[in-house]
């Protein structure tokens, strides 16, 4: 990919990133999506709205999040300097809140009184329940029955925050099914309900809107790295479920040709086993959840079950912008197995005193491999998308410990 791309021109007016994206939903939702696109475009240019958003990000979320030089880990790896963009320090413990703050402010502008969301790991559900509590809005979170088991601390947090957590028992009982159910609820309650999607997937304008709300990560990281080192980083690494923390870090750097970007998908038990969640590495383009993108399907076009140790990456699709960035070669996508992610989880915890989320541990795992192959005067930023408290039950169980 050598010719200059006008990154700001994507997506086009109908939400296309090259052949990907778009709006593939039943007619009932088309009006609501037009309405959402209208307010989103209007308010993203509205100084008053942007000032309110900034103030909330600063005072409620705690931004800017630090860019932390992981010196001990860097030394041990003996290669590139590793920097961590500390999204785990945000209120509610992950990057997800950057987006829910923004969408909730839009919901308020639209006069909606009810918020719905889907969640996998529960981080997006918690971030949504949090902003709904703060704004006094009714909140319903759809969560796969299997994920409710895996992420019980977050389920309790959402309930404490006043959200109604609905167990989704259809299909594979994970994130994709929660998204289906949230869409069904939205169709039926579209007059008073705002659907806060938690990642850069879904029909237009969600992939662009969520990206824009998450891009604060990359804008800050770029300025912080320049400030700390006087130069741009050489590589950016982020885990990819739907792809919101990754695009949030990557997007403000897209025009910086010297910066390599790597998205890390969940390799589960290994991409060769078929038991994984790595559509960009091992899937093919199709249409799911309102957009055209890489996804995991069988020969008949049925969506297949995914596997990952981390509920937040356990998704058969991926944001359409990532599909496009893959095809044009601007970002490379790799996968990391459950075992590699677990080892990285422990390494980060013991070496830097930071307990990363299992999702995030996939990005860390890739850097454990990448940094030693780089020079010590180079640097790599990991998006430390969330903290691992929610995963302690999962980790303990794997080690045979009852908490």
């Amino acid at each position: 990919m050598k010719q200059a791309v006008d990154w700001a021109a994507f997506p086009d007016v109908r939400g296309h990133f090259g052949p990907y994206g778009g709006r593939f939903v039943a007619e009932t939702l088309m009006g609501a999506l037009d309405e959402l696109q209208g307010v989103y475009e209007k308010y993203m240019k509205d100084p008053e709205f942007l000032a309110e958003l900034d103030a909330d990000l600063q005072n409620f979320v705690g931004r800017p999040s630090p860019l932390y030089h992981a010196e001990r880990l860097s030394r041990e790896l003996g290669g590139a300097q590793v920097y961590l963009k500390r999204e785990d320090l945000n209120h509610t413990g992950a990057h997800k809140v950057n987006n829910t703050i923004g969408q909730a402010l839009l919901a308020k502008r639209l006069g909606k009184t009810r918020i719905i969301a889907e969640t996998g790991a529960g981080q997006h559900g918690v971030a949504t329940a949090t902003v709904a509590a703060r704004l006094g809005l009714e909140c319903v979170v759809f969560m796969g029955a299997e994920d409710i088991q895996r992420q019980s601390p977050n389920v309790y947090r959402m309930r404490l925050l006043g959200a109604d957590v609905v167990a989704v028992k259809s299909g594979s009982r994970t994130l994709k099914d929660a998204l289906n159910e949230a869409m069904r609820d939205w169709v039926a309650n579209v007059d008073d309900t705002f659907y806060i999607i938690g990642t850069v997937a879904g029909p237009h304008p969600y992939p662009a809107m969520v990206r824009d709300f998450q891009s604060v990560i990359g804008r800050e990281a770029r300025a912080q790295h320049l400030e700390m080192t006087g130069r741009l980083p050489d590589a950016l690494v982020a885990c990819v479920g739907g792809g919101s923390n990754a695009i949030g870090l990557f997007h403000p750097f897209l025009a910086d040709e010297s910066v390599a970007m790597i998205g890390v998908e969940a390799g589960g038990e290994g991409v060769g086993t078929g038991r994984h969640s790595a559509p960009l590495c091992a899937g093919r383009p199709g249409v799911l959840h309102g957009n055209r993108t890489y996804l995991m399907e069988d020969d008949n076009g049925q969506i297949i079950e995914t596997h990952s140790i981390s509920a937040g990456l356990d998704y058969p699709g991926v944001g359409p912008e990532h599909s496009w960035l893959k095809d044009i070669g601007r970002v490379s996508y790799v996968s990391v197995t459950d075992d590699m992610a677990l080892r990285a989880f422990h390494r980060m915890t013991r070496t830097e005193g930071i307990i990363p989320a299992l999702e995030t541990s996939h990005a860390v795992a890739h850097v454990l491999d990448l940094a030693p192959r780089m020079r010590t005067d180079q640097s790599v930023i990991i998006n430390l998308s969330g903290r691992g408290d929610k995963d302690l039950n999962t980790i303990a169980r794997l080690e045979g410990i009852e908490l």
């Binding site: 709006r23 593939f24 039943a26 007619e27 037009d34 994709k176 869409m183 007059d191 399907e297």
Partner: protein
């Protein structure tokens, strides 16, 4: 004239509303479907809507979701569904068959391959629930070449600007979603429905079918007074759950329900004749 146009010309001429039962292909088992289709026609169906099962039926309620799961448990593929239509056509060359499903299985097969196979099987219309007219150029193009009508949805939330767009792209008939919600939802307001259909008729000559939320003969009769076609899905599919191990009894119950709806719809129209709709 296409089979769909011909059928609506007949029902309009006889002052009836068409009855369009929906069943999910391959539910409860693939070998039931073709016989069931013939049963439904014998019981008074004018057109048939055949659901193509999909793993993630986002616009469907729990009844049709479960039907998809039952069908997919048998491995029913889009090709299998087309084979069912072809088998149905061996004995019935008159009754139009409309496929209703989601885009991904069609994309996986390839739009062109699908259109040719569907044409050869004797499919008359295709409704892809998650394919709005804006994204449909490729598929409608290849369907047109084999004489298959693209059927589009209009919803209570469709703006008048969009309505023009949808009616311009639609062929065969317009499928009006009678309520905000997924298939199998409750509440349908016949008065509001009548007003809404009139505003659509101002923009198109195409027949108007109404579906989503028609659960019994009484509602079917109310809708038959104002619509050209009444589509009944979940109310029929739900019967599968009543006879989990007895497909023959399900077929009999489905036929009985269609017969009852047919009678109620025709009575409702008779009572009003000769007032035009």
């Amino acid at each position: 004239m296409s089979r769909i146009a011909k059928r609506f010309a007949e029902t309009r001429a006889s002052g009836r509303a068409a009855l369009v039962p929906y069943v999910t292909a391959g539910d409860p088992a693939p070998d039931v479907t073709v016989a069931l289709m013939h049963d439904l026609v014998a019981a008074g169906a004018d057109l048939l809507e055949l659901g193509v099962p999909f793993s993630d039926p986002m616009a469907d309620g729990p009844v049709i979701q479960l039907a998809c799961e039952r069908s997919l448990a048998h491995g029913t593929s889009l090709r299998d569904v087309l084979a069912m239509v072809a088998a149905f056509r061996e004995r019935d060359r008159e009754t139009p068959v409309v496929l209703m499903g989601y885009l991904n299985p069609v994309e996986r097969m390839g739009a062109e391959t699908f259109a040719e196979a569907a044409g050869a099987a004797g499919v008359d219309g295709v409704l892809v629930v998650d394919l709005p007219p804006e994204e449909s150029d490729e598929l409608t193009g290849v369907l047109a070449r084999v004489g298959i009508d693209p059927i589009f949805l209009v919803a209570p939330t469709t703006s008048s600007r969009r309505l023009e767009h949808v009616t311009a792209a639609a062929r065969g008939f317009i499928y009006y979603v009678s309520l905000k919600g997924v298939t199998g939802s409750q509440t349908l307001d016949p008065a509001e429905l009548g007003a809404r259909l009139s505003s659509i008729r101002a923009l198109t000559e195409l027949p108007l079918g109404v579906g989503f939320g028609i659960r019994d003969a009484q509602t079917a009769a109310q809708v038959a007074r104002v619509a050209d076609a009444v589509v009944v899905g979940s109310a029929i599919v739900r019967l599968v759950e009543q006879f989990p191990a007895a497909p023959d009894q399900f077929r009999a119950a489905a036929s009985a329900l269609v017969r009852e709806m047919r009678a109620a719809m025709d009575d409702a129209r008779m009572a009003e004749a000769p007032a035009p709709v």
